[in-house]
């Protein structure tokens, strides 16, 4: 059985700046991620991790090479196509980026308003998801009245509530203490398995590496398998091998 990768990156290069100031940040990166995989990306600051994440998330248009997300080519894609792909991706940021003027449940509902649900369904789904992340009694709280871990859990609920096919996370535990960090990744792992979505997670945090099916390492804009974590249980998904550029 041959599976189509959900994310298929081939020989992707990316540059910032123009003319003399042009600087290459990604050098022919290739990566395939299949449905249901949890892939962690590590690497030092400035290695290009976030750039790759924003490209995969259709937040930036690709320049050179090929980048297929959910079967759609994102290199040279139009804004409308990019917006379309974004609606199938859930994002979890280092800063939770919740809307301050909205309550927890309203924040989660914002993710559902882009999809065809009735008002009733939106409210129910948002409440279910907040219950799933353990915030059933905090639904009508404003973000300023929630702790860091609680805010991050609201952000996770928001990212997952519309059942996205892909979840992209950038250091979701960086601002959290060890215990909340563990809780947060555990929730992510469990929900990802329940909903069958693919997770690409950028992290510096050694404490959460165990959730990964596979770990890749970015250094100087090049991607490699992370040798130090080969012991990590390899996923059940076929062909889940790192592709070395």
């Amino acid at each position: 059985m041959k599976m189509q990768p959900v994310i298929n990156v081939k020989n992707l290069s990316h540059y910032y700046g123009k003319g003399d100031l042009k600087k290459q940040v990604l050098f022919g990166v290739s990566l395939e991620i299949y449905s249901g995989e949890i892939v962690l990306m590590t690497g030092p600051s400035g290695s290009g991790k976030t750039t790759l994440l924003t490209l995969v998330g259709a937040l930036r248009s690709g320049q050179e090479g090929s980048l297929k997300v959910l079967g759609k080519e994102m290199c040279g894609a139009r804004e409308d196509d990019m917006v379309d792909v974004r609606r199938h991706i859930g994002y979890i940021f280092q800063a939770h980026n919740l809307l301050k003027s909205l309550t927890a449940i309203q924040n989660v509902q914002m993710a559902l308003e882009l999809h065809d649900y009735s008002k009733q369904e939106r409210r129910e789904k948002a409440a279910q998801m907040l219950t799933a992340v353990g915030l059933a009694n905090r639904m009508d709280y404003y973000p300023e009245n929630l702790s860091g871990g609680q805010k991050q859990r609201v952000a996770i609920a928001r990212a997952l509530v519309s059942s996205p096919k892909i979840v992209l996370a950038d250091e979701p535990t960086a601002a959290l203490d060890s215990k909340s960090g563990q809780e947060v990744v555990e929730i992510m792992r469990k929900l990802a398995k329940d909903f069958g979505c693919t997770i690409l997670l950028v992290t510096h945090d050694d404490r959460i590496l165990h959730v990964a099916d596979r770990i890749v390492h970015m250094e100087d804009g090049r991607l490699s398998a992370d040798k130090t974590h080969q012991k990590v249980p390899v996923s059940t998904v076929p062909q889940s091998r790192p592709i070395i550029s």
């Binding site: 924003t54 974004r86 909205l102 914002m110």
Partner: protein, 384 residues
């Protein structure tokens, strides 16, 4: 669309203090516009109050006349000539002039508008003038405008108490024996009415045959337009014949076009408008700047630019309405204060309320469309 989360409303109301400041700013701008428009309308109203209370059908004036305070005289022969036109029943000459009135208490002089006419009939619709006709037939007797500014002295209370007030007008001793109500205008702070002969006694350099205006009365059932055309055909170009409405319009045109006043009030309105734009722009710009990372997050989730434009314009519209509503009662109080202090007929009208409402909405939308440019800085690629 209405079952969605009202983000614009929630964002505006979340920052209570900022909202209050914004609403106060818009209310201020609205008040400014209301006051300027109110003053302007009051000017036009007050300057034509005399005209509105004339009871004739047609008015004859000199073509060189510009306004009530800048009348040129013409020969009354022209007025009596119109009696030859079929449909004209009678005529009455009108004399007008500004001259010093001595305050009976403080003895200070102040300019007052004196109107004189042939007392065989009243040229004014006010019943009090009608009733005072026998009085002003007497030499040196005048009737006084009780709505005149207080600087003319406490005349009205004494007359009402049954006394006669004696003072000097243009250096001539006169006796005030009656009252009427007309009100101050930008042109004259007060008015007195008397007979043509008394007028000429006060203005002793004026000649009887040289009048400021002529009032023409038509026979019942006469065709006003036809008589107007006939008089125009009969008389040479040294006089101008107008309907009563034309006479009112003539006065308004002068104030609107030949003085700086219309421009000044127009400028006042424009200033209120611009102050409003600046305030609303500041508020919306700050609001967008504060929520930039949130908007970028929403963009990353797949919200399109149109959504954010909608949020900004909804905020602009909400601010316009919220700022306008308290403005109306505040302005009504201010109008009342102005009316009592100036005797000018300032009052809220439905058309002005609507004008300012529309101006406010336009003002907020202009601010909104300047502030939306800030939205372009919400780049979803920057938030990771």
């Amino acid at each position: 669309m209405f079952d969605k989360i009202p983000l614009a409303w929630l964002q505006l109301t979340r920052e209570k203090i900022r909202l209050v400041v914004a609403v106060a700013g818009i209310t201020f701008a609205d008040t400014l516009m209301f006051m300027q428009l109110g003053f302007q309308d009051a000017l036009f109203d007050s300057s034509t109050r005399m005209h509105q209370n004339l009871n004739g059908d047609l008015v004859l004036i000199s073509p060189k006349s510009e306004a009530l305070i800048a009348m040129q005289t013409f020969s009354w022969r022209r007025l009596y000539q119109t009696l030859a036109v079929p449909g004209v029943e009678s005529v009455n000459p009108l004399y007008m002039g500004l001259i010093g009135w001595k305050n009976p208490e403080t003895k200070r002089d102040r300019q007052i508008l004196v109107v004189g006419f042939d007392p065989k009939q009243s040229v004014f619709t006010m019943p009090e003038v009608e009733a005072s006709i026998p009085k002003i037939k007497l030499p040196d007797v005048v009737i006084f405008d009780r709505s005149a500014r207080p600087e003319f002295g406490p005349v009205a209370p004494q007359i009402e108490a049954g006394k006669t007030v004696t003072t000097e007008v243009g250096g001539r001793r006169v006796y005030v024996k009656g009252l009427f109500s007309l009100g101050a205008s930008f042109a004259a702070d007060g008015n007195i009415i008397t007979s043509d002969l008394n007028f000429l006694r006060i203005f002793n350099r004026r000649k009887k045959g040289e009048i400021d205006a002529g009032i023409i009365y038509l026979k019942p059932g006469a065709d006003r337009e036809k008589v107007l055309a006939d008089i125009k055909a009969l008389l040479p170009d040294d006089v101008k014949v107008l309907t009563r409405e034309g006479f009112i319009e003539f006065e308004k045109t002068y104030w609107r076009e030949s003085t700086a006043i219309g421009f000044i009030f127009g400028l006042g309105v424009a200033m209120g408008f611009i102050v409003g734009i600046v305030i609303v722009y500041q508020i919306i710009y700050t609001d967008v700047a504060d929520h930039l990372s949130e908007y970028a997050t929403l963009k990353a989730m797949g919200y399109k630019n149109a959504y954010f434009y909608l949020v900004v314009f909804q905020e602009a519209f909400l601010l316009a309405i919220l700022g306008y509503l308290p403005g109306v009662p505040i302005v009504m109080v201010l109008y009342n204060l102005t009316k009592n202090a100036t005797m000018l007929p300032v009052a809220m009208t439905a058309s002005r309320a609507l004008t300012v409402l529309i101006l406010t909405i336009v003002m907020c939308f202009i601010s909104g469309s300047i502030a939306v440019r800030k939205l372009q800085e919400a780049d979803p690629a920057d938030i990771f």
